[in-house]
């Protein structure tokens, strides 16, 4: 073996540079949001106001909540393809039972969260691919929603309308709501000691199991959190639209996934960022309709243009993070 030596091995990477790299990684989502905001400000300066933000970002609240919901399953290396249909179902429950018979409504919504936890247990115990299970569930939620509300209609409970209609001084409500959502999710997943276990189960499940933690409980907890934020997303959506439709949340599945990825998350490895996810959701919500309207793109082309913007933003993210690795 080696002869003992007094000198210590040198640090091949200085810790300071490492932090800079992490900082850059964390700042990327904010950068894309800033770009979209700049574009809007340039096209229509009047949109950058209290009233403009309230209007433009109103629908961003349910999208942000759905994105956080998606983020929890992605943290455990799963994907929820049913979140859109689920948000629609919650919307239908909110516009009917929750208003007419609040007790049943609350019980049903709590039951939904329990169903999500059970899905997590099923996926873990039977070792099923989550995409298949949640794709199946999306038809179940959609079917239930249509049974409950065959035609668009219903009415949101008054307390929900009141909450979503709050006009706080100085800061537009959607921005305030986004802040609260981001902080709650950040503290819950990134700062608490159990949140560490949840993320670890996505990073190296074997290690978490060996350390004596229950992977079943972790998976159930992640799915229950998805269910909880899915319920919140459905409630927020109905609070804004005031009435429901079984298909109201259909676009949310892909939006939520794109939001997580845009926010710096990765599909595998437990690498997610709650703050990034909320910023990603805001970016998507802004890039969706306000930006396109200001660019005078006809409604026929807006969906395609929306997709194009999504590709550009995600590609920029990949390019920037690759450069960052090379450095």
């Amino acid at each position: 073996m080696a002869v003992p030596i007094a000198a210590s091995p040198p640090a091949s990477q200085a810790p300071g540079r490492l932090d800079l790299r992490r900082l850059l990684r964390a700042l990327l989502p904010a950068l894309s949001l800033a770009l979209v905001l700049l574009a809007i400000a340039w096209l229509n300066p009047r949109a950058i106001s209290y009233f403009g933000f309230t209007l433009m970002l109103n629908l961003a609240i349910p999208i942000a909540l759905a994105t956080i919901a998606q983020m929890f399953v992605i943290a455990g290396n799963d994907l929820d393809l049913s979140i859109g249909a689920f948000v629609g179902f919650v919307g239908c429950v909110a516009a009917t039972w929750l208003r007419e018979t609040p007790l049943i409504g609350v019980l049903v919504l709590l039951g939904c969260i329990a169903v999500y936890a059970a899905l997590g247990a099923l996926i873990h115990l039977r070792n099923l691919p989550s995409i298949v299970v949640t794709l199946g569930m999306s038809f179940v939620w959609q079917g239930l929603a249509i049974l409950l509300l065959p035609k668009p209609g219903g009415k949101a409970p008054d307390w929900l309308l009141a909450i979503m209609g709050v006009k706080p001084p100085f800061i537009p409500f959607p921005i305030l709501a986004a802040l609260v959502i981001a902080v709650v999710a950040y503290v819950g997943l990134m700062r608490t000691s159990y949140g560490t276990i949840l993320r670890g189960s996505g990073g190296n499940a074997v290690a978490i199991g060996r350390a004596g933690w229950s992977l079943l409980k972790a998976k159930m907890a992640l799915f229950a959190c998805t269910g909880l934020f899915g319920v919140l997303s459905g409630l927020a959506l109905i609070g804004i639209t005031t009435s429901a439709d079984a298909n109201i949340g259909n676009g949310y599945t892909l939006l939520s996934i794109a939001g997580v990825i845009l926010g710096g998350g990765e599909f595998v490895g437990g690498r997610v960022s709650p703050i990034g996810a909320v910023i990603g959701a805001l970016t998507l919500a802004l890039a969706a309709s306000p930006l396109l309207t200001f660019m005078r793109i006809p409604p026929d082309w807006q969906v395609a243009a929306n997709g194009a913007i999504l590709i550009v933003v995600l590609a920029a993210r990949v390019l920037i993070s690759r450069k960052d690795v090379e450095r």
């Binding site: 073996m1 080696a2 002869v3 003992p4 030596i5 000198a7 210590s8 091995p9 040198p10 640090a11 091949s12 990477q13 810790p15 490492l18 790299r21 992490r22 700062r191 000691s193 560490t196 276990i197 993320r199 670890g200 996505g202 990073g203 190296n204 074997v206 290690a207 978490i208 199991g209 060996r210 350390a211 004596g212 933690w213 490895g269 437990g270 690498r271």
Partner: protein, 489 residues
Amino acid sequence: MIVAGPKLVELDGVEKHFGAVRALDGVNLIVGQGECLGLVGHNGAGKSTLMHILTGTASPDRGRMTFAGEEQAGYSPGQAKRLGVRCVFQELSLCPNLTVAENARVFHPGLTGLNWRRTAGALIIDKLDAIFPGHGIGASDLVQDLAIGRRQMVEVARAFTVTDEPVRLIILDEPTSSLDAHSARQLLDFTRRAVAGGVSCIFISHLLGEVLDICDRIVVMRDGRTVADAEARTFDRDKLVAAMGGVDAQVREARAGTTPVRGHSPLRVRARPRRQTSTAELVAHEGEVIGLAGLAGHGQTDLLLAIYAAALGGRGNVEVTATVALVAGDRQADGIFPLWSIAENIGVRSLARLRGRLLISRRREDALANFWRGKIGIRTPDVHDNILSLSGGNQQKVLFARALGSDARIVLMDDPMRGVDVGTKLEVYGLIREEAASGRTFLWYTTEADELKHCDHVYVFRNGAIVADLTRGELTEERVIQSSFEEAS
């Protein structure tokens, strides 16, 4: 089997079967309190299975286990932790997406409350400071950003941290395989100190020198049984190898003398590391075995990758005049395709040659795989079995077969012998010599000083640059270590 003093663990007739394979075939083992027990044996001898039984992640099919005088029934990982059993597994068990402090918290359920992050960080950094002074790791570093050697340091240090449960038995499974000589020494010294403080230790390593150096007693395993058990001082290297049933120890000294004159065969590689300020450069000619030495993670792998990129058409200050193949060091991450068969894993580097008309010819692929199975001794009944059915050493042989079976004239090796048993190593060394004699060039990064003896020429790296350029005649371990700590001139 004499153990002085009280016994901590006693295994009696433990058996474990996986299908038809008898991983453990009636093992008796005693670990005394405050004793450092060495465990050696070839890959597949049953050491890892035994460790899984001790840590509760596998349960024995038959046999009894006694811990501190109490017979254990329904033994589980949780129970093992409560009793104070800690294990550093061969495959790293850190979560790459978490920070160093968070990984410490995963290990200690008691670390909760508002300040858990700071407590966990202090806990792990204190232990790192104690074991590896000058480690250069911060509590908030993400594990994915750390080099593999530093990850292993964190892993080892974490096993020694204490919160509410005591540490009574530490199992170190190949703990030095990714560490450079200096850090390995630090770990061995610390282990001795811990054992002196009353902790028991089971030390598993393929580096027999380490085992002889730090263990009180050595147990040799073969084919799922213990075949020798005696105090460490009654063993020497040759006796251990003989007990393991390995290849004749004399083979390793077979290649002595004869320094070939350089420059007579055609140039194959001329490369300068990116951070090199002096004029030193790495030169390799046809038929040479070139060693890349130095502490782990000082730019050796980077240079190999730069050479590989240059061969694929990249640019830079690298000149390559022939085809190149790479044998990866981190086999799970960069080497094998886990879903593919052995034959597919061997053939993937040679697809152009295996093609008949448009599609891959199954016949040619099998022929290639069977040829190398025979030549390099891959222990499998059928090359169509999944690659994961092989033990770690045999998987590594498949990676060698992939490179050697290809048309590459230059083979780059990125510390390929990590955690490979002595028998396999000796076989591969012989093969490398044979291939070099027939005109292949090898560039070989290794963290094991013994392997440098097989090289014609050795370059020592420090901080991403070449600091010493040693011919075969000048090569001694002291020279290499001395150069590893010199500043680049």
